[in-house]
Amino acid sequence: MTTGTTTMTKETILKVEHLSMKFGGLMAINDFSFEAKRGEITALIGPNGAGKTTVFNCITGFYKPTMGMITLSRSNGKELLLERLRDFEINKVAGVSRTFQNIRLFSGLTVLENLLVAQHNVLMKASGYTILGLLGLPTYKNAAKAAIEKAEYWLNKADLTDRADDPAGDLSYGAQRRLEIARAMCTSPELLCLDEPAAGLNPKESLTLNALLRDIRDEGTSLLLIEHDMSVVMEISDHVVVLEYGQKISDGTPDHVKNDPRVIAAYLGVEDDEVEEIEEKLDKGIIEEGAV
């Protein structure tokens, strides 16, 4: 898989069109459209309360959107409408996996078991829905071995190999975050959605995370992430979409977004007339591009 940064030649993996989500009288997402390309890291940013997590929840089947269409194109050419799938099919059929802002590991299961649950469907099929597995048929044994190998591969990537048999709840915060990503990867997703993966990490852990995410992209999984930590966003994403009050205000490369006056206004909270002022200054070259 190549990792070029040219957006134009790549096919779309996720297409969100006219997405709207209403909670009672509150319009959390209003006519929001964007695309994520295959093999890229797409970041979804925006101030607190902009509706980023709501978008994620619509994509991963937590909410049924009020309006709009979410299309996922699989590598085999199949197109799926995510809002029509049942909750477990989002992963099983569409190959979309996600992590949460507040970690949701199975804390009573061991680290290894967490990774094996993620391979449930493969193992269930191989074990003939448990019945053949109980008889100890070789197909199941091989599948179980392959599942453990895969788990070991991701344990290694997440640097958790020596903790494999500990309960997941005993890990440190940073390790739990890495485990959550490893677990999501064990479902062999085509699109991995990460909700603030760097939240609460120290700068060193943040760097390790960047490397891990790039690694995942380079192995062929497309990423969609919500992030507050701009160093992470600007460092690793190929494409950034900015959301404010449920609407898209900017969309493009990290450099483009960084210098978009509307994004600056949204983040720094300037008055509307000041936005124009900044735009003017940008045009005249009074402020340097990228000085944000």
Binding site: D87, F88, N91, S107, Y129, L134, R183
Partner: protein, 313 residues
């Protein structure tokens, strides 16, 4: 009832005690099997399935009906094969019953307020026992003794059916333990128990996993029902109530949500019941059992092996 008097006079305290232990263990095995159904369903969807006692009763009737069919159509059928078929077909039928109940009465209420499934379960329990009362009649249904062999060790008597009950229970518990701890299905069940939504996001079909849990619980209850029928020799439409609530007490005593707890609780309740009837008063044996429920709930609500729900923040 002054049953033990004769033995007291003869001074055979020890033999009498051991005899009661054996009786208690047998009864406890049956309670333990039923308690697992309560504890598993509670673990996976946080609901007390009060109809589970009646599933146990249905299991008894299923065994009875299979017995009647087999003995009237195949007169010379060997007892071992008869018992095996009673258990297997009974497990299948009762599993199907519980699957249907979950599908029509509990699943539509999932995600509703907490009391709704509880009330439905109580309704289901009443519906089931009345259904059996209407279709099978209100009188006790007798079954001829199938296994009559007894073994004597001094003054202690062990019947073959007691041995059968304990052995079958042990085999089932091992199979069950293996499924829950070592297979992908069990892993999915434990994951669903901890975080249903997250399990679904990892591709686990949560509805199916919950259905299978109900079927597994019912299969164990069916075996318990068949053995209860074999042990006491009668089946009655309201068998689901008192033994059902006792099994529930066992689940609470062991720590609801904990599988080893359910077995331990079942054995303890069986022992308490049989020892209480032997040394105190048989009329008050249910009082003793349910007093335990109250005491456990007051002093150790998490039960013996239950974990307190503490979340790391």
């Amino acid at each position: 009832m002054v049953r033990p008097l004769k033995d007291r006079i003869r001074g055979k305290y020890m033999e009498y005690f051991i005899q009661q232990l054996i009786n208690g263990l047998t009864l406890g095995s049956i309670y333990g099997l039923v308690a697992i159904g309560y504890t598993m369903v509670y673990g996976i969807i946080g609901m007390i399935n009060f109809a589970h006692g009646d599933i146990f009763m249905l299991g008894g009737f299923a065994a009875l009906i299979i017995f009647l069919i087999l003995t009237s159509f195949f007169a010379g059928i060997p007892v071992a094969l008869l018992l095996l078929l009673m258990l297997l077909v009974g497990m299948l039928m009762t599993g199907l019953w519980n699957w249907t109940i979950e599908r029509v009465a509990y699943r539509p209420l999932r995600g509703s307020f907490r009391l709704a499934p509880l009330i439905t379960a109580i309704g289901m329990s009443i519906a089931l026992s009345n259904f059996i009362q209407v279709t099978q009649g209100p009188r006790n249904k007798p079954i001829p003794p199938l296994v009559t062999d007894t073994y004597h060790f001094g003054d202690i008597t062990i019947s073959l059916k007691q041995i059968l009950i304990v052995v079958i229970t042990s085999i089932l518990l091992f199979a069950f333990w293996y499924i829950v701890n070592k297979t992908p299905l069990g892993r999915a069940q434990r994951a669903t128990e901890q975080d249903r939504k997250m399990a679904a996001l990892l591709g686990v079909d949560v509805d199916k996993t919950i259905s299978i849990t109900f079927i597994m619980g019912a299969a164990l209850a069916a075996v318990a029902g068949a053995m209860y029928l074999m042990y006491y020799g009668v089946a009655s439409f309201n068998d689901g109530f008192i033994p059902g609530v006792k099994a529930f007490t066992a689940a609470v005593l062991g720590g609801i949500g904990s599988l080893p707890g359910a077995v331990l609780g079942g054995l303890l309740i069986g022992l308490i019941e049989s020892l209480w009837s032997a040394y105190f008063s048989i009329a008050y044996k249910d009082v003793a059992t349910f007093a335990i429920l109250a005491i456990v709930l007051i002093f150790k609500p998490t039960g013996i092996l239950g974990r307190p729900e503490v979340e790391k923040v």
